[in-house]
Amino acid sequence: MKFKIYRYNPETDAKPYIQEYQLDRVEPGTMLLAALLRIKDEQDESLSFRRSCGEGVCGSDGMNINGINGLACITSLDSLKQPIEIKPLPGLPVIRDLIIDMDQFYRQYRAVKPYLIVHDPMPEVELTQTPVQREQLDGLYECILCACCSTSCPSFWWNPDKFLGPAALLQASRFIEDSRDQAFEERLAELEGPFKLFRCHTIMNCVQVCPKGLNPTKAIGRIKHKMVTRSL
């Protein structure tokens, strides 16, 4: 099985290059992450990439696989056309090989205040929700912050410092929809302006690549709908 992998070490390389690897005796059903680990163990220990849980929960091993962002640990080699081209997630600076600098991504995540804001005195036990109120959060809370969506979004590439990106906006929607949150007005007001929310042109790359099957475009639409009903 043939791999073409993006390599770049800013300490030793003048510019990035593509390195080819050949992997033999690959069993059916093997995941891409397992193949990368084998390459690292058997052929080139300098190959660098992030990974942790290995089962699509932590979101560490997001990478561009044959042109589409995804998680290496849940991408079966059987589903990939050869040679398998692997590059870092696009749109963010490369630290080394497949490792990107996610500072910008996390700054945008923090910008939407991804936590409950409650102005009333906190109850002694807990903030309760009805089952219906809880259901409103389905499809919003499951995000693992792998950055596959934001780094596949052309609006994010064009204005990475101003447009919040699908991941952060999905989180914004998650707290706007939360019945326990008391910062509804502030959250919507914070998203006003031409850049933070309204750079989304419903291109829907985010929906295509989300490894958890979430729909950030729909969440962004829900925010816009809330803005319209609030202004009426």
């Binding site: 006003e192 302006g193 031409p194 929310l197 309204f198 750079r199 816009k224 803005m227 319209v228 202004s231």
Partner: protein
């Protein structure tokens, strides 16, 4: 109001409302065209000079102007990152749209006073 003349939710809503109006107008205009007995300059002129048609055409032009401004402004915001160049391009666009609007409304005004 800011450099971008309308920003955030308002232009997003205007873009959609204007799109719906333009679609309805195009259907109405097409219906008028295909059901007309005679196609020519004079019948078209008398159609345009009817007060109802003058009004709906006037609203259509306003819808086109807003729709074009918001759409082109979005393209400029996405692709033109140098702030001075962005102001220049938006200024040119604004001038062209306002000029076109004045030209069209001069024609429509002539229809009202004639």
């Amino acid at each position: 109001m800011s450099l971008y003349v309308l920003e955030g939710l308002r232009p997003w809503v205007i873009q959609r409302v204007s799109a719906v109006y333009m679609a309805l107008f195009i259907i109405y205009a097409a219906w008028c065209y295909f059901t007309a007995d005679v196609i020519g300059y004079q019948p078209w002129k008398s159609w345009l000079y009817h007060p109802f048609n003058t009004s709906v055409v006037g609203i259509f032009i306003i819808a086109v102007l807003f729709h074009a401004w918001i759409g082109m402004r979005d393209v400029v915001l996405d692709y033109v990152h140098n702030i001075m160049l962005r102001i220049f391009v938006l200024g040119i666009l604004f001038g062209v749209l306002i000029g076109s609007a004045l030209w069209v409304f001069r024609i429509l005004l002539l229809s009202v006073v004639s």
